[in-house]
């Protein structure tokens, strides 16, 4: 297990490097929230989820919904690492003619199942998938990554209510709780605390973790899968911009990309020498 965790940590480090390089190349996109979510996305794709990069539409696959769609770089670098498409494609992020839209678009990108980006809609879709699997008696699981700022959208709580009501225990929501949104602290813009209590009130199983501790992420995902009769919310405390001190805990890096001056230092922080 220790080896597995070390392996995933190293994968996440490499994915962080890929995020920084991709965003530096595109000069458009969201740095902070991609770096805060990447450990969870990495754990899902390289440890937890059943999926097959050689057959992106394999029916037996688990589903992933990046509800905080602006963290698309975190998903794209992971899909590229899995082999859903060539890593060179990442250099075309957000460019005309590329299949890598600014926010996930299921129409063009292998491995992307849902269009997201307009905040607040992903959990509804994830629960719809979960209900569909249950209806068919299938054991596929559905994972959705949400932002804590995103929880200000009312539709999230409609979806939380419905998933609790329908006891969608094949659904797991991971809340990337980095505490920051475009205009500043989530608690100051519009306080959504206490997130865990809110999900509990809607009948969810709630697990609170450090979202950068790979061991805790894996353990929480395993517990979520084992929990029957209710959906699970993993409230993951994270750091916006995690891994690069230049970007850490800075709301200003929500939608800002590394510039030429910042790139070498960012890569150095991530232990990347090339």
């Amino acid at each position: 297990m220790k080896e597995k965790i070390a392996d995933l940590e190293e994968k996440a480090r490499r994915l962080r490097v890929a995020i920084v390089k991709t965003l530096h190349k595109s000069q458009s996109g969201h740095t902070g929230g991609s770096l805060s979510a990447i450990d969870m996305v990495c754990a899902l794709y390289f440890h937890k989820m059943r999926h097959n990069p050689q057959d992106p539409s394999w029916e037996g696959r688990d589903r992933f919904v990046l509800s905080k769609g602006h963290a698309a770089p975190a998903l794209y670098v992971t899909l590229a690492e899995c082999g859903y498409f060539p890593a060179e494609d990442l250099m075309m992020l957000r460019r005309l003619g590329s299949h890598l839209q600014g926010h996930p678009d299921s129409k063009g990108t292998p491995g992307v199942d849902v269009c997201t980006g307009s905040l607040g809609q992903g959990l509804s879709m994830a629960n719809g998938m979960a209900l569909g699997f249950k209806l068919d008696g299938k054991d596929n699981r559905v994972y959705a990554v949400l932002g804590d700022g995103e929880l200000q959208e009312g539709q999230i709580w409609e979806a939380a209510m419905a998933a609790g009501h329908y006891k969608s225990d094949n659904l797991c929501a991971l809340i990337d709780s980095n505490g920051l949104q475009i205009d500043g602290d989530v608690s100051k813009v519009m306080n959504v605390a206490s997130i865990g209590d809110k999900f509990k009130a809607f009948g969810w199983n709630v697990i609170e973790i450090d979202g950068h501790d790979m061991g805790q992420i894996i353990s929480a995902l395993d517990k979520a899968e084992a929990h029957k009769g209710a959906p699970t919310a993993i409230i993951a405390k994270t750091v916006k911009g995690k891994g690069v001190h230049l970007f850490e805990n800075k709301a200003s890096y929500h939608g800002v990309t590394p510039n030429d001056e910042e790139l070498p230092e960012a890569l150095r922080c991530l232990g990347c020498c090339d």
Binding site: Q121, S124, L135, Q155, H165
Partner: protein
């Protein structure tokens, strides 16, 4: 006479028996929208999502993405209105195979008043890429439209009413998405109509005959895609068009026809509909009269447009 929503309930329940991929969702209005008929027959394939329309749309998108064919229903004002962006983002953008069947469209909702009368939904649904927009004339056409929507792969918006409406089409009428129907032949002008206004146009055409005016009635059960062939033919052959819909004159059927003909074949045109205002409380027949949504208005407009042709 039958309400289009009743025909929907019947058709959906029938389809449910033929295809187990069909699921239905409602937002606490299953008695009114008639999805309750399906719910009774297939309780495990029916999801009451509570009074939460935005989530209902997203849930339907999720169900579609794992292979289901969801039909979701609520009143038109809450579907096309409240959940517009969810329909755009979660259904139309990814071309999700979801059918939005909105009932209680237009002013015939009646006493509930302006807050509940959706007179903009055709326009706002029509503006969304990938969206197909259907407004049946009667119960028979509704049954065909629901069947066609289920067979079609992609998002569809079907707009239905609350009240019973006169029959225009015979039993077994075949509905094809994107195809209009010439309900009555004529050469002096064409009424291009949709929804309950088609029956009014048939009455108007009959009365105009007595005055020596020959009116064609072209019913468009699909607003989008527009049946360009029949519209162009009507413009070229009759030289005058009167559109009619239980909807705002902004952006609906009249708008669609005007946009097309403006570029392809500028033609004398009149639009019968609601002139940029909200609905009011009242009995549905009183409201139709108040807003001029009847054969009398169509006759007046026909007379005027024919006189302008000369």
């Amino acid at each position: 006479m039958i309400a289009t929503r009743d025909a929907y309930g019947e058709a959906l329940a029938e389809l449910g028996g033929e295809n187990d991929k069909i699921v239905a969702l409602d937002a606490d209005l299953s008695g009114s929208t008639k999805t309750g008929v399906f719910a009774k027959k297939f309780p495990n394939r029916f999801f009451n999502m509570g009074i939460a329309e935005a989530n209902m749309v997203g849930t339907a998108a999720g169900l579609a993405s794992v292979g289901k064919i969801p039909f979701l229903s609520t009143f038109a004002i809450f579907a096309a209105g409240r959940a517009w962006e969810q329909i755009r983002q979660s259904l139309a953008y990814p071309k999700a195979n979801v059918k939005v069947v909105a009932t209680h469209g237009g002013v015939t909702v009646g006493e509930d008043g302006g807050s509940h009368q959706s007179v903009e939904d055709i326009a706002i649904m029509r503006a969304i890429p990938n969206m197909t927009v259907i407004v049946p004339a009667d119960g028979e056409e509704t049954k065909g439209a629901i069947r066609a929507a289920a067979a079609y792969k992609g998002p569809v918006y079907v707009r239905l009413g609350r009240n019973k409406v006169a029959n225009v089409f015979p039993a077994g009428h075949k509905f094809e998405i994107g195809k209009g129907n010439v309900v009555a032949e004529g050469k002096d002008l064409t009424f291009i109509t949709t929804g309950l206004m088609t029956a009014q146009a048939v009455i108007a055409a009959e009365k105009l005959k007595e005055e020596g005016i020959s009116a064609r009635v072209l019913h468009l059960g699909t607003i989008k895609p527009l049946d360009k062939e029949l519209v162009l033919k009507a413009a070229q052959e009759t030289g005058a068009i009167v559109t009619a819909e239980e909807h705002s004159v902004v952006g609906g059927l009249g708008g669609a026809v005007a946009e097309f003909l403006g570029e392809e074949c500028p033609t004398l045109m009149k639009r019968v509909g609601i002139y940029d205002r909200f609905g009011l409380s009242g009995k549905s027949d009183e409201l139709l009269k108040y807003f001029g949504l009847n054969a009398e208005t169509l006759i007046e407009q026909a007379r005027e447009i024919v006189s302008r042709k000369k």
